[in-house]
């Protein structure tokens, strides 16, 4: 490391006062055009084989019947799409995904902002802030498998949550949070909220620290209350971060598979079925690979619409 650093400093000293394009101009034009592609070749190869090819494959699969399971598959046009889009379970999965995603994203935002605001308070010493920041960030560090087992234990009928709620008189009898149709969707959404807010919190905290103090000073001079400062200074300043984070979160949350699979498996019945679990089951429980591909393509198209919005918003910011 030490030698490397001294190399750097030497290199800096050797730079002539007028650098710029002169150095780059020395390399022959042909070589200059090929070198970057040599550097990019592993990336391009990987993306070609494991991104473009699979996407073409899944689209082709979705237009055929009996793929993977037999050799006698043939193009059947859009028939699979008709079948999926009229499947009541697909529509239920779509509905559940929307509810799960919207609720999670809103709650992530509210919790993330609340925690970020508390952590940003000038009343805290740096040490206190650091300790709480680590605790608040904890949920984000656990793999979904761990989060799933942990909450299955907490939410089990004989689990600690039911005990506490009964002690406080909030429920009269034990609730089967994850295995009763009326509470399962709420339960998995809650778990997802617990697991996902830290990402917002960190970004919003950085955003809060970037807001110029004079804006608050000016607002105070004008007699703004804390509430007015929040809505007229803090929120408008954080707006770009909030919108980016919310869009990213919509893309991620709507694709959540592992958490659902390991807590409820989409059940009971179809009460927590999501687009991801629905697609997975078509492929690996029912071996309907053509229909699974069709569902996967629909999920893909929906995500592309979201990604397009996200990209357009990012562009507008630049």
């Amino acid at each position: 490391m030490a030698t490397a650093t001294s190399d750097v400093t030497q290199a800096v000293h050797r730079v002539p006062p007028a650098p710029g394009k002169a150095a780059a101009g020395r390399t022959p034009r042909r070589r200059k055009n090929l070198t970057p592609w040599a550097f990019l070749s592993p990336t391009v190869l990987l993306m070609l084989v494991l991104m473009l090819v699979p996407i073409v494959m899944v689209i082709v699969y979705s237009l055929k019947n009996n793929v993977i399971m037999t050799r006698k598959s043939e193009i059947i046009g859009l028939g699979n799409y008709g079948e999926i889009l009229t499947d009541p379970i697909f529509l239920k999965a779509l509905m559940n995904t929307v509810i799960f995603t919207v609720t999670s994203v809103v709650a992530h935002l509210v919790l993330g902002l609340t925690f970020a605001m508390m952590l940003n308070s000038p009343l805290l010493s740096n040490a206190t802030r650091a300790v709480f920041r680590v605790i608040y960030f904890l949920p984000w560090l656990f793999t979904v498998a761990v989060i799933a087992v942990l909450w299955r234990l907490i939410l089990s009928p004989n689990g600690v949550l039911n005990y506490i709620l009964q002690q406080w008189g909030l429920i009269s009898e034990k609730v089967e949070w994850l295995s009763s149709p009326s509470t399962a969707l709420i339960a998995v959404t809650f778990i997802n909220i617990w697991a996902g807010y830290p990402f917002y919190m960190v970004s919003l905290l950085a955003g809060l620290q970037g807001i110029p103090r004079d804006l608050y000073e000016a607002a105070r001079v004008d007699g703004a209350t804390a509430r007015q400062q929040f809505f007229n200074v803090t929120i408008p300043q954080l707006r770009p971060i909030i919108i980016s984070m919310a869009m990213l979160d919509v893309i991620w949350t709507s694709q959540q598979f592992a958490l659902i699979w390991m807590t409820t498996g989409g059940g009971p019945g179809t009460s927590t079925e999501m687009l991801s679990t629905y697609t997975y089951k078509l492929a690996f429980s029912e071996y309907e690979f053509s229909l699974a591909s069709t569902s996967a393509v629909i999920v893909f198209l929906l995500s592309m619409v979201l990604a397009f919005w996200y990209a357009r918003h990012q562009k507008a910011r630049d």
Partner: protein
Amino acid sequence: MTTITSTAPSGGGVRQNRPASHWPAKIALLAGLTVGALFAGLPVLWMLSNSFKSNTEIFSLPPSLITDSFSFSAYTSILTDSTKLRFFLNSYVIALSVTALTLLVSLLAAYAFSRYEFRGKKALSVLIVSVQAIPPITLLVPYFGLMVVLKLYNTYPGLILTYMVFTLPYAIIMMTGYFNTLPKELDEAVRVDGGGPLVALFRVLVPISIPGIISVSVYTFMISWNEFLFALTLTKTEDMRTVPVGIQLLMGQHSYEWNEMMAMSVLGSIPVLLLFLIFQRYFIGGMTSGSVKS
């Protein structure tokens, strides 16, 4: 705890309010922070606590965070079980390989993006960014088919290559952004002296990019360590399963051995927790800039 009280009065330098008015606000704030910390931290403590209990004590009433019959038996039963140790070995092999390879490939790509102008640069970078929005579930069926055809089904390379597709875009974006902040004169000087671009990259740029490299590595390791969907579908035999899939399998097999499940969860979380605690600064910084900029 004493530090909080002693620094508070002098900490008022930022806002020139009357010091006396701080106290009610501060107590309210600490109360709020504590409620939040219980929400975030209690489930984690519950996991830790139950990993040291016996199975019967886990559901005993009233529940207690500190157990009377503290025991390591859940841990020893995992650490002496070759099947479970194999899950850990697999996870380490895969996550470390993905991290090393992603780093190497992304450094090369980022160098090209940051230091060269070439036809198709814009299109390629848009493509790489948009890959991040492709739902994993969309790729599941074709990957299953492709891995069988390529004879990579149920192998390490199959999972390693799969994970790289998901970790590379972020790594490339991060490293390109990082290189862009370093003056071009640094590596151009090496080129003027006759060193090739590889020398410029690895002798000059890499040593001063350590914070960026750490942030990318931690992120990549974490994604690969935690991945579940492809680990579940692209492996078949028990000796190829990773920790997350192992946890799920145990849950299905003997769902009543909660102490072992909790111990497994604790052990499975330690690598990421350690990485985070050690590299917190780089990691959070990288994560924020990545999410806000990209």
